[in-house]
């Protein structure tokens, strides 16, 4: 990791009581992110990626139990008072969610929602905030921004709503933007536009970003580092190019193989991953991926592999990595 970390997540676990028992949604996760960098968090539904992002934002459900520390810009967010947290969200920490219809208030105009954010966090007067709102909407590629300010969310398409959500998130010049599946609900052409927009604004503002997605295609060209999550744990973490060229985790390999390839001929059978992720209320003693892994043996089923570095500094949690760290000890 280069430079001082803006965000450093240490041994974070999130547990939730459920009718079926205690659910360990996030299990001892460590992450760090330097200013201006982009971290991709990849995993399937239920792997804990959204719970982890909510733990960073301190937006967990009330019944959730969080342990560990979330150091952001020199402060531990876990131990910060609610009032101090509120001051931090917006100017320092911002978030864009998957569904822009539910993250915008349906009974307030776009303008009201942007202007009140600027008034609350930036101490702007209403006329100045309205002018800034127009600038922000124009910056995220919304045509006729003055008219849009007077409209309600339902009058906008999904892509336009997501642009508004991004404009609101960017309005206070945050140091860290967490984008949780920001394009999953959108069409491919709109997805490309939104990802381009996020990348452009990030560079311009030297903002750090966490891009959460289930799609390895989305993180491939647009992140510096990728963390792959499975069953609540980070199972592999590496600089993006290294992850794709020399992955160690059989899960990452299987996940990549299961995506239909554009250069394969039609009717090529896909190497599907058999089975499904384990029940999070029934943690396994060994590696969580072992029941679906073709390399698994008795050791994998009995002992949990730690997240360990290879010779180049990529981390993986596997007893039988795909490319063993050959240069170890030299």
């Amino acid at each position: 990791m280069t430079g001082r970390a803006l965000l450093s997540v240490e041994r974070v676990s999130v547990g939730l009581p459920t009718p079926r028992g205690h659910l360990l949604a996030v299990d001892q996760v460590d992450l760090s992110l330097a200013p201006g960098r982009t971290l991709g968090i990849v995993g399937e539904s239920g792997c804990g990626k959204t719970m982890l992002s909510r733990a960073i934002l301190q937006l967990l459900p009330k019944r959730a139990r969080l342990s560990g520390t979330v150091m952001f810009d020199g402060q531990d967010l876990v131990r910060l008072a609610p009032e101090a947290l509120r001051r931090l969200r917006g100017p320092s920490l911002a978030v864009v969610f998957q569904d822009p219809m539910t993250s915008l208030n349906p009974v307030l105009t776009i303008g009201t929602q942007i202007i009140e954010t600027l008034q609350a966090h930036m101490g702007m007067e209403a006329p100045a905030a309205a002018r800034r709102g127009v600038e922000l909407l124009a910056a995220v590629g919304i045509p006729a921004p003055e008219q849009r300010l007077r409209q309600y969310p339902h009058q906008l398409s999904g892509g336009m709503r997501q642009r508004v959500a991004i404009a609101i998130a960017l309005s206070c010049e945050p140091k860290l933007l967490i984008a949780d599946e920001p394009t999953t609900a959108l069409d491919v052409t709109v997805q490309a536009q939104i990802l381009d927009l996020l990348a452009r604004e990030q560079q311009r503002r030297h903002m750090a970003m966490i891009l959460i997605t289930h799609d390895l295609g989305v993180v491939a060209g647009r992140t510096d580092e990728v963390a792959v999550m499975y069953a609540g744990r980070v199972v592999e973490r590496a600089p993006t190019p290294a992850l794709f060229t020399s992955m160690h985790m059989p899960y990452t390999e299987a996940l990549l193989a299961a995506i239909p390839k554009l250069d394969s001929p039609p009717h090529t059978p896909l190497p599907a991953i058999a089975g499904r992720p384990p029940d999070p209320t029934r943690p396994l003693p060994g590696c969580s991926f072992a029941p679906r892994c073709r390399y698994a043996d008795d050791r994998c089923r009995s002992a949990k592999p730690p997240l360990a570095p290879d010779h180049a500094g990529s981390l993986y949690a596997c007893w039988h990595p795909l490319q063993p760290p050959a240069a170890l000890g030299t």
Partner: protein, 328 residues
């Protein structure tokens, strides 16, 4: 490795001719499908792609007469479905089935899986209980579910992927000829998506199916389709053999869709020239070529004349005045 593609004897099982579907909203009209003609050969998979609101699902429903077309014909095995009424249409529907996007929402949460899968047999008048159970067990085994474990359970006890298997079993139990799959894997995780796509391919061979596969994800469509049809704002832009269409797209919209797909390879730079903007409203579609408002090649002619579908290569047709590739 190429799978032996099923029996395509070249006869057209489904022919959609000049199909128009319009419906009123207030005093205005939504032009959901405008003058679309396409065919699906027996044993073939035709992929139908396009963005939300392009009319691809409406087209699928109009084929099944779940939404009656405003104009045009839907010829299925030589019979025009738009002319069928009541009982004759109901009898015909056994031969056409539909699989939806949301597998959980398409199962009645209060009914047992065995009853859900048997329902089509009950509706079509199979009263022999033992025979019904035999067929339910056979089709459930075929889709990879254990009938002994699954038949007595309720939908909420199953994951999304397993629910889609149940929906596929229900669609196949009447041994249909044509199955319309409307975004069957869009709601599923990557690892489960591959299982379901493989299952659909297996079922196609096993039951000799013809598929109309509707999806917005070109990579998914490519994995299963023999030919692909691209729709934009209610009109057909381009149709052609899968590999040819991917290698040499002729319509600028097809090229745009291909460019926008995120590739899981960090050495491939993401597309930067995806134009800003979204499809216009189907209530007031642009004159001439409907894609012209987002197209870099558009000129006066594109605004004045609707481009007809023209031959580009063997089996490839595009509706564009300025195609990226032209007939050799």
């Amino acid at each position: 490795m190429m799978r032996d593609t099923a029996v395509t004897d070249g006869s057209k099982l489904l022919e959609v001719e000049n199909l128009v579907v319009e419906y009123p909203v207030g005093k205005k009209t939504v032009h959901a499908v405008t003058d679309v003609s396409l065919h699906v050969d027996r044993g073939e998979t035709l992929g139908l792609v396009g963005e939300s609101g392009c009319g691809k699902s409406t087209l699928g429903r109009a084929v099944l007469q779940l939404r009656r077309p405003t104009a045009g014909k839907v010829m299925f095995d030589g019979v025009d479905l738009t002319q069928l009424q009541g009982e004759t249409m109901r009898l015909m529907r056994r031969r056409l089935q539909l699989i939806f996007q949301d597998p959980i929402a398409s199962l009645n949460p209060r009914r047992r899986i065995g009853d859900i899968v048997a329902e089509p047999l009950v509706i079509t008048g199979l009263t022999d209980r033992a025979e019904r159970e035999r067929r339910v067990r056979a089709v459930m085994t075929a889709v990879g579910l254990d009938p002994d474990l699954a038949m007595g359970r309720l939908p909420h006890e199953f994951s999304g992927g397993q629910c889609q298997r149940i929906c596929i079993a229900r669609a196949l139990i009447l041994e249909p000829e044509l199955v319309i799959c409307d975004e069957p894997v869009s709601a599923l995780d990557v690892s489960i998506r591959a299982q379901i796509l493989n299952l659909l391919e297996d079922m196609k061979r096993r039951y000799g199916l013809t598929l109309l596969f509707i999806a917005h994800d070109l990579a998914v469509v490519k994995a299963v389709s023999d030919r692909i049809a691209v729709m934009y704002l209610g009109r057909l832009c381009e149709v052609g053999p899968t590999e040819q269409l991917f290698a040499r797209p002729a319509h600028p919209y097809t090229a745009l869709l291909l460019e926008a797909i995120p590739v899981p390879d960090p050495t491939v730079r993401p597309a930067v020239n995806v134009p800003i903007g979204e499809p216009p409203s189907p209530i007031a579609p642009p004159s001439g070529c409907r894609f012209r408002t987002r197209c870099s090649r558009a000129d006066r002619r594109c605004a004045d004349e609707v481009p007809p579908l023209r031959a580009i290569g063997p089996g490839q047709f595009a509706a564009c005045h300025h195609p990226l590739t032209t007939a050799a």
